[in-house]
Symmetry: none
Subunit: 218 residues, 2 copies
C-alpha cells in the first residue's frame, strides 16, 4: 500500500494528465504534494515505479504514465478529506453584506446581492442574518467602532436593552440600544456626546438584532 505522500502524488499525476493532457513537471509536483525539494519527488516516483503504479520512459522529461490506481486510500488521506468536508460545512454560512448602517435609506433598498461575508459558523447557527458596516461613533462605549462589521439577525421585535437596527420613518436605519417605554420608543446611543432619540412607536421598526461584531485590523 502507499504512503500518504505517494498516494497524493499518484493522484495528482493521474489527475493532471487527465485534465491537461500532459505530464506535470517536478516543480508542479512539489507544489501539489507540498514538499520543497525535487529530490523528494524523485524518490517518491522511484517508489511508485517500484510498486508498478507508474512507468517512466527512461531519459525523457515529462514522460510518466500511470499504469493503475490504488483501490484504497491511506487512512491519513481519508482523515484529511473528512476534515475538509467538515470545514466546508462549517464555513458554508455566507451572509449578505448590506452597505452602511447609518445610510439614510432603508436597509433592503441598499442591499447589493453580490457582496457577502463569511462568518463564524457558531455565530449564526440558525435564522437569517445579514451584515452591515458600522458608520459613526454613536456606539463607541459599547465597543462598536466606526467601520466594524455588525452581524444582524433579522427580527421585528426586540427586548429592552438589546442593540438593534432600527428603521425610523421608513427612511433612516441606525444601530442603537432599544428601549420601549409606555408610549414611546427610546433609541439610546452609547456615546455621551450623542443624544437619546425618542419616537412614537408607529415611527420606528426593528429590522434586526445585533448578533455579532467583526473587526479587522490592517
Amino acid at each position: 500500500m502507499l504512503t500518504p505522500k505517494q498516494y497524493k502524488l499518484l493522484m495528482f499525476i493521474d489527475n493532471s494528465i487527465k485534465e491537461n493532457g500532459c505530464c506535470p513537471s517536478f516543480e508542479e509536483m512539489k507544489q501539489a504534494v507540498g514538499i520543497k525539494s525535487k529530490s523528494g519527488i524523485h524518490s517518491l516516483i522511484e517508489e511508485l515505479i517500484e510498486r508498478d503504479f507508474i512507468k517512466k520512459l527512461p531519459h525523457k522529461a515529462r514522460a510518466l504514465e500511470v499504469l493503475r490506481l490504488p483501490r484504497f486510500k491511506p487512512k491519513d488521506i481519508i482523515e484529511e478529506e473528512k476534515k475538509i468536508k467538515s470545514a466546508l460545512h462549517d464555513a458554508a454560512l455566507k451572509i449578505p453584506l448590506c452597505g452602511k448602517i447609518a445610510a439614510g435609506t432603508p436597509i433592503e433598498a441598499i442591499c447589493h446581492e453580490n457582496e457577502y461575508i463569511t462568518i463564524p459558523y457558531e455565530m449564526a447557527a440558525s435564522g437569517n442574518y445579514y451584515a452591515l458596516t458600522v458608520e459613526g461613533e454613536s456606539m463607541i462605549e459599547a465597543g462598536i467602532l466606526n467601520n466594524d462589521i455588525a452581524l444582524i439577525r433579522k427580527a421585528d421585535t426586540a427586548e429592552n436593552g438589546q442593540i438593534v437596527v432600527a428603521l425610523i420613518d421608513n427612511a433612516e436605519a441606525t444601530l442603537k440600544v432599544w428601549q420601549k417605554n409606555k408610549d414611546e420608543i427610546c433609541l439610546l446611543p452609547r456615546n455621551k456626546s450623542y443624544e437619546i432619540r425618542k419616537f412614537h412607536p408607529s415611527r420606528v421598526k426593528v429590522q434586526g438584532i445585533l448578533s455579532g461584531i467583526i473587526r479587522k485590523y490592517i
Copy 2:
C-alpha cells in the same frame, strides 16, 4: 506522457484532420504551436511517434495519422471539481482557540489543540493565526471588551502603536498597545484606570499582532 508542446501539437493535428480532412503542413503547425522553426516541429513529431500517439507514412508529405489521444476526464467532472476548489477557497479558515489572554502562563502552554474557531477567510488570508478570548477591561477604549475573541497573527516584532500580544518574563501574556522607546518597552492600556507598564526590552516578547475582533451577542 506528453510535454506541453507535444500535447499542443497533437491536439492541433487531431483537430485539424477532423476539421479539414487533411494533415496540416509544418508551416501550419509552426503557427499553431507558436515556434519559428520547422526543425522544432520535426522533433516534436518524432517524439509523438516514439510515444505511439501518431504514425507517419514514410516519404510522404502531409501523411500523419493520429493513433490515440491522452485519456481525459469528462468535462462535467472537471467543472464540479473546480467548484469544490473555489468553495474551499472561500471557506472560512479554522484557527486554534488558545484560552484566555490574561492568563498568567505563556500562550503556547495553554493551547488546547482541539478547540477551534472558524473565521472569515478574508481575515486571515495568509500567515499563521490563533485566537484568544480577551479577559479584562484594559483595552475597553479601543473597543475591545471582556470576552471578545481576539484574532492574532503570529509575529515576533511589532510597530509602535500596534496592538500586540506581549509575553512578559515568559510568564504573563497580555494584550496591549506596543510602544518601543530607546531603552524600554511600554505596554499601553486603553483604559484610563489602568497604568502604563514599562519593561526592559529583554523581558518582553511579541507573540502576535491583533488582526481582528469577533464578538457574539447572546
